[in-house]
Structures are given as C-alpha cells and as structure tokens.
C-alpha cells in the first residue's frame, strides 16, 4: 500500500476507485456504449461517476450502478455519464498515435493505391466534428504532408456535426490555450492569428480547406451522399448511439469508404459486435478499421 493510500484511509478520504462496482460500471459502459477504461484509467471513470453522484445526490457507487441499470433512469443517466467521461477531452492534436500512423503507414499506402487508379485526391471525413478541433488538426496535418511529400495531391476535408452551436464555434475557429495545449508553437505561428483575450484564430486559408456542414448521422438519406471517402474519423460520437443505430451508421461508413479506406474511432472505442466487415488493423500505438481490398494484405508480416 502506498503512503498516499494509507494517508487517504487514515484521513477517512478513502480512494474507492478500486471498488469492484466500478469494474461493473466499466463493463456496462463498454457493452452498451463501446468505450473502454483500462485498469490504469479506471480512476477517470470513477471520477466521472462521482461527479454525477454529487450532481444527482446519489450516495455510493452501488446506488449509482443501480441508477445506471434501472429501466426508468438508465438511458438519461448513461448519457450524462458519457458527457462527463468525454468532457475536456477535445483539443487540437489530441490523437498523436492516429496522426503518426496516418503519416508513416496509411498515407503512403493510400496514395500509392490511389495513384494506380490515376487519382490524385483523398477525401477525409471528420464525422461528428464537434467544435472543430479535429478537422483543423487534420487540415494542418495534411497541409504539412502536402508540403513535405505530396505536392500534387489534393486533400479534401469534410467536417459534419449535428449540433448547430458546435458548428458555429467550429466555423469561427477561435481557440484558447487549453484547446491549443498540444499544438506546436511553429503551427500556432503558421496557421493562426491573434484573437480576443489572448486566444488564437485559425487563418482563413486553412479554414478554406474544410467544408463544414450540418449532418445527422441517423439521417440515412443524407448520409448516403457521403461517398468516395478514403478516411473517416468518428471519435466519441457512436458511444451515444444505441446498438441498432450504431450498426446502421457504421454500415454506412463502410459503404461510403472506397476499397482500401480506413475508419478511425476514438482511442478507447471498439466496434466489437457492431460490425464484422471492417477488419481490425494494429499500427504502432493505435488501431484502425480497414475496408479490405480482396486478395490484399493489410501489411507485410
């Protein structure tokens, strides 16, 4: 037992994130929403639960588990809990593992395959872009890649969200220090201009690289128009969907991708038992789902 734990117990401030009830909550959240907390990250889940318990005046983890499973309260409470889990997660350049894998493995493969078809364009879709952190990260990433290695390629970035207010913030492109905590100084200089209250605004030429639009992923008629894609990113969005809509949306993603295209989820999300057409690929530090080209291996082994 660590000194800290001992002190916690002596002061009556016991750290109960080891309470086995949190493991049950973890499994419940994973089974219903597809977002997973490893043992190392269990304290984050416990923290989110505790904030909800305080808010809802619920005494104890066991009682909270009941709230999450009782028919009358579970759907609303699960949604609130998911909000707590994902809160503060957004910032620019959040998923360095995904970007490194794109840069070093997927982009070389995709450009090689597409050039064989005479194509010089890649279409990337940020599905559920929220307040714009992900599409701007992608815009900077692809602008850099174009300069570095792919001068004659065109990278189209589509960004959609259901929420009008989020989209407005995204189109505005003004971010404070917290959202920019992972953004390199060089990028801040190159792609941003000073805005009010010490914040930074995305330069117009970078903004022009992204097509923002409102889209409800459950609106099948409109989702069907999202086609000929090479990469789809949909992070921490599907966790809010029930199993049936999740299956449907992922099926649309699959159809919308060109053969050989890739689908990224959030770093702790899973498609287990949601879709068995996508093939799970391991890359250094991350995973991605692949729409396989028949007769081709994902990577030489």
């Amino acid at each position: 037992m660590s000194l800290q734990q001992t002190q916690n117990i002596l002061s009556g401030n016991a750290d109960d994130s080891r309470d086995p009830v949190y493991l049950r909550i973890r499994d419940l959240v994973y089974q219903t929403c597809g977002i997973y907390h490893t043992e190392e990250k269990l304290y984050l889940l416990a923290g989110a639960c505790k904030r909800r318990m305080t808010e809802g005046k619920i005494a104890g983890a066991k009682a909270y588990f009941d709230t999450l499973t009782r028919l009358s309260t579970r759907d609303a409470e699960l949604r609130q809990l998911l909000n707590e889990i994902t809160i503060g997660e957004t910032c620019l350049f959040r998923s360095s593992g995904q970007l490194d894998a794109l840069k070093n493995v997927l982009l070389p493969k995709l450009t090689e395959e597409r050039s064989k078809l005479g194509l010089r364009r890649l279409r990337i879709w940020s599905a559920g872009c929220s307040t714009g952190e992900e599409p701007y990260t992608l815009a900077m990433f692809f602008a850099e890649e174009k300069e570095r290695k792919y001068p004659d390629w065109n990278f189209e970035i589509l960004a959609t969200d259901l929420n009008d207010r989020s989209l407005e913030t995204a189109r505005n492109g003004v971010y404070g220090t917290y959202a920019l905590r992972n953004t390199a100084e060089a990028y801040k200089k190159k792609y941003f201009v000073p805005a009010e209250e010490g914040k930074l605004r995305v330069r117009d030429d970078l903004k022009s690289k992204i097509q923002f639009s409102r889209l409800n992923l459950n609106d099948e008629a409109r989702v069907l128009f999202m086609r000929n894609l090479d990469v789809i990113l949909c992070c921490n969005v599907l966790i809010y969907f029930d199993q049936a809509s999740k299956r449907r949306v992922v099926q649309h993603f699959y159809s919308g991708l060109l053969l050989g295209g890739y689908f990224f989820l959030g770093h702790a999300e899973s498609l287990y038992q949601v879709n068995d057409q996508f093939r799970l690929i391991h890359l250094p530090g991350t995973t991605v789902y692949w729409k396989a080209i028949e007769g081709q291996e994902a990577g030489k082994q």
């Binding site: 490893t38 190392e40 493995v105 093939r279 799970l280 391991h282 530090g285």
Partner: protein, 301 residues
C-alpha cells in the same frame, strides 16, 4: 561478412558459448521453480537462491525499496525484500538479472531496458492471452514469452560488430528485426535463441516457441505456444514495448496464418474481443515499464 554457411558457423559459436560463464548457477533451479504452481513455491528456497548471487541480492533489495512498492521502512534483509515483492515479481526480477549477467553491460546493441521491457511484457501478455483463450498452461506461456528473444543476446555475444550494424539498420529503416537479420546474417534471433535454449535444456515446447516465433510455418509439430508467442510478440511491438523502435507498418492479426492455426487449438480465439485485449495491454505496459526501470535504474544498465 559472415562465412558461407551461416548456420553451421552459428552452431559452432554457440557450442563455444556454452563454455562461457553464460548460464548463471541459479538459472536452472529458478526455471524449475517457475514451473511449479505458486502455492508450491517455498519462500525459503527463493531466498536461498537469491542469496547465491551477490548482484542479484543487491538488485532485489533495490527494487523492493524503490518507490514502486512504497515501503515505509527500507527492507534490509532479503526475506523482507522477497515478501515485499511477492513471488511472481521476484521471478521476473531474478530471471531478468540472470540474463543480464550473460551479457556484459558494454556488449548490448540495444538498451537493455528496451530488451527487458519487451521480454517481460511478452511474458505477462502471453500469460494473460493464454488465459483468455483457454490455453492449457498459461505459466508456460509466461516462460516462453519471457525467453522468446533470447537470440538477441546470443547474437550480441557471437556477432558483436555485425549485430550492432544489423540493429542500427533495423532501427533506421523501421523494418522488423528478423527481416534485417535474415538479409544480413542469414539467420534470425529466433534460430540462434532456439539453439541456446536447446543447449541449456529448456522445456521442449518452449524451445520451439523461441525457435519458430518468426517462422510459425516451419514449426515441426502441433504446439500452439509457437503461434501464441508470435501473435503476442507482434501485439507488444505494436503497443509500445517492441525492440525499442517503431516498426511503421500495418498488422492484421486475424489474417496472420498463426491466428488461424492457433484458433484450431484454442477455439475461444475466434470470439475473443481483441480490441479490448489490446486496450488492457496498456495496463501491463505501464506495470512492465515500472518494474524494468526499477531493476535498471538509469546509469546501472
């Protein structure tokens, strides 16, 4: 750079290696102990073994007193150290220390901490993987995982100069180590490791796992340990505890021939939630890094 018959030459060098003070005296009894169920292991015997090697005694005390275990008063006797660490952790440290002695500090072609993170990581992950797929002997999985890259040490001793160049090339190109070895040396660390393991009379199934983990198709008989080590090795290399460099490639485990072969022996593999397992691995990775860093504090390696 190497004689025309690389394997014959290697065999000769390895037979010479046997005469070196290569296998520490406590290695064999230790391995035998590891083969017993935990409740059969006698604390007294462990303490006796530990006391036989001065450097190992010192290392155990140091780890037991590291912040990782948060003792209030330092452990002064080896018995106290063993009790703090627990038997399983003790074995990790002992085996690590043993193999560390084979190679003088200045002979390592890669930082020893990288090597041990990978070996201990594979051991832990292999045991856990074995349990999830109902493989009959998870502890054997642990041993095979721990020893599977023994050949890296063999190569470092027998082909010191050439091997440094091989490792440097693998690191610079980001190619799998065994590919570069095959091209430059004519054999891989799996083959040389297998030869030494045989010479040290390690359990036959484990010897095969070491010898064929990069060439599962050549495995002479049905031994799922070979496929399991192959898969777990890949997983570890994709999840931050590889050879100490990133291999920039895509790996589809379910399409690997080893996966299909393993599924025949362990049908539960077919329904395993691989992505959840991948997430869970991050917990081991942290644990392994902490252990290895405690054994080899900076400057000691």
């Amino acid at each position: 750079m190497i004689a025309t018959e690389p394997k014959k030459e290697l065999q000769r060098k390895i037979s010479e290696l046997r005469a070196l003070p290569a296998a520490p005296a406590i290695l064999q009894p230790l391995l035998q102990m590891l083969r017993q169920p935990p409740d059969k292991i006698e604390l007294k015997k462990v303490v006796q073994l530990v006391q036989m090697e001065k450097t190992i005694t010192a290392q155990c005390l140091r780890v037991a007193n590291s912040p990782l275990f948060g003792r209030v008063r330092p452990a002064e006797s080896i018995t106290a150290a063993v009790m703090t660490l627990g038997i399983q952790r003790m074995e990790d440290i002992l085996l690590t220390s043993c193999f560390h002695q084979i190679l003088q500090p200045n002979k390592w072609v890669t930082p020893p901490t990288d090597f041990w993170r990978h070996s201990l990581g594979c051991a832990l992950v292999c045991k856990e993987f074995a349990e999830r797929i109902d493989y009959s002997d998870p502890d054997r999985g642990y041993l095979a995982g721990l020893l599977h890259d023994l050949g890296i040490i063999v190569n470092s001793v027998t082909y010191e100069r050439e091997y440094a160049a091989v490792f440097a090339e693998a690191r610079n190109s980001g190619l799998p180590l065994d590919e570069v070895e095959r091209a430059k040396l004519g054999f891989t660390h799996s083959e040389s490791g297998g030869m030494l393991a045989k010479a040290w009379q390690m359990p036959e199934l484990v010897v095969e796992a070491i010898e064929f983990h990069h060439d599962v198709g050549s495995s002479p008989r049905e031994n799922p340990l070979v496929e399991m080590v192959h898969i777990v090795d890949l997983l570890c290399r994709m999840r931050g505890i590889g050879y100490g460099y990133e291999e920039w490639r895509a790996v589809e485990l379910a399409a690997d021939p080893a996966w299909e072969r393993l599924a025949k022996f362990c049908p539960r593999l077919g329904t395993m939630d691989l992505i959840r397992f991948t997430f869970d691995m991050d917990t081991y990775v942290e644990r392994v890094k902490a252990t290895v860093d405690a054994v080899y504090r900076r400057g000691d390696a």
